[in-house]
């Protein structure tokens, strides 16, 4: 094993603080992406309904052309938007993966550091509670 220097409480604190910042950011971004995806779907549905209404109300060539253009534009927008949402989610997952690796390290090592540095019970519990906020794996 290439052990390297032993972990310290300060390192654990730093790693946890960084991971918490990443968790807050990824949670915020994930929520924004979900809202964006919902709005995209809703907007597309509205435009499609409007296109159908136009085609019904103006059943001549111009009306149908407008309806088809609107529907095509909406679907193209939806497709582009959803691709961006998926790319955003992939990026978040990558960041989460790095975060989970860092937190797993803390999960595994903090009992040893707590014993070595004689942490008090509440200190130990506080670190444990912070660690417990992180998922086991990237979502």
């Amino acid at each position: 094993m290439s052990g390297g220097p032993r972990a310290t409480g300060a390192e654990i604190e730093r790693a946890l603080a960084e991971a918490e910042a990443v968790l807050a950011e990824t949670t915020r971004r994930r929520t924004r992406l979900s809202v964006a995806a919902s709005l995209l779907c809703l907007g597309t549905a509205v435009v499609l309904l409007a296109a159908v209404a136009i085609a019904v109300r103006l059943p001549h060539a111009a009306g149908i052309a407008i309806a088809l253009l609107a529907a095509g534009g909406a679907l193209a927008g939806l497709s582009t938007g959803l691709r961006r949402v998926a790319a955003g989610r992939r990026e978040i997952r990558e960041r989460e993966r790095a975060m989970v690796t860092a937190v797993n390290y803390v999960r595994e090592v903090y009992p040893l550091v707590a014993a070595r540095e004689s942490w008090t019970g509440p200190d130990r519990e506080a670190v444990r509670a912070r660690v417990a906020r992180f998922p086991i794996a990237a979502r």
Partner: protein
């Protein structure tokens, strides 16, 4: 009251002797089959530390482990399964919930769901493994890097002792959950499955004495005794049994000491069948 542990020791000894007496044509007294559509009404919770073998135990019980080629895996969330347990005189639709061992939102959620409301379990299977946990991060495991064990048996023992300490702490936490009012009202039995017993088959007496009170005192006994005295948080029936889901050598990480398995597939099957017997008596 002392007879509780005498009985537990008898159950353990019967399991050990079942390995020698096992015959290929022996049939377990209970069969488990997964249910897909029907409702399950007997909640059973499987607990234990990460890498103790909770998923492997469940999969061995439902015949999803074929012995060779089983790949252990980390469970990223709780696992819920509906299983029909059928014996000669028993037929129970059990809802198994495997609680993740890592401190995480997934664990918090599953603990809140199972131990702190009306869905409290009727039975708990707590999986321990004599410190032979699977370290999911392998050589990158924080504890392993910090302990920096030599690739010798002694180095291995250092890691194992550390993990044994954590196992005791984990069991003490389960003890806290068993004190929850909802659990005390509903819980009827507790089985402590000492998994990966094939790795310590040559030191069975010490392992038994570590987990079952009655011999040399151990930190594990202190938790059990604490549960038994005072608030009577132990359920009416308790069994501590050896188990091996899929016997294979164990290594905390590549390059470290390799602990050989000392049982073959048939012997592990005998232990599984014995586990069925014990489970059948609990249901």
């Amino acid at each position: 009251m002392g007879s509780l542990w005498d009985e537990a020791r008898d159950t353990w000894d019967r399991a050990v002797s079942s390995v020698d007496q096992h015959r290929d044509w022996s049939r377990p007294s209970l069969r488990a089959r997964r249910l897909w559509l029907r409702r399950a009404n007997v909640p059973i919770v499987v607990t234990g530390r990460p890498g103790a073998g909770k998923t492997a135990l469940f999969e061995a019980l439902t015949d999803r482990v074929s012995g060779l080629g089983y790949t252990t895996r980390v469970s990223a969330d709780w696992e819920r399964h509906r299983v029909l347990l059928r014996g000669e005189a028993t037929s129970v639709r059990a809802a198994f919930l495997v609680v993740p061992g890592q401190d995480s939102p997934e664990r918090t959620r599953s603990v809140a769901r199972t131990f702190k409301n009306r869905a409290a379990p009727v039975g708990v299977i707590h999986v321990v493994c004599s410190g032979f946990n699977e370290l999911w991060s392998g050589p990158a495991d924080g504890a392993l890097r910090d302990l920096d064990p030599a690739p010798t048996r002694e180095g291995n023992e250092r890691v194992r002792r550390y993990l044994l300490d954590l196992e005791v702490q984990d069991f003490a936490e389960l003890g806290q959950l068993l004190r929850e009012p909802a659990v005390r009202r509903r819980l009827r039995w507790l089985i402590i499955a000492v998994a990966k017993i094939d790795l310590v088959w040559d030191e069975l007496g010490e392992v038994r004495d570590h987990y079952i009170p009655g011999g040399v005192s151990s930190p594990f006994h202190r938790v059990l005794d604490g549960l038994r005295s005072g608030e009577r948080s132990l359920p009416p029936r308790i069994a501590i049994v050896p188990f091996s889901g899929h016997p294979e050598a164990h290594q905390y990480a590549p390059g470290l000491y390799r602990t050989p398995s000392r049982l073959d597939g048939n012997q592990a099957t005998a232990l599984r069948d014995n586990f069925y017997d014990v489970l059948g008596r609990m249901l």
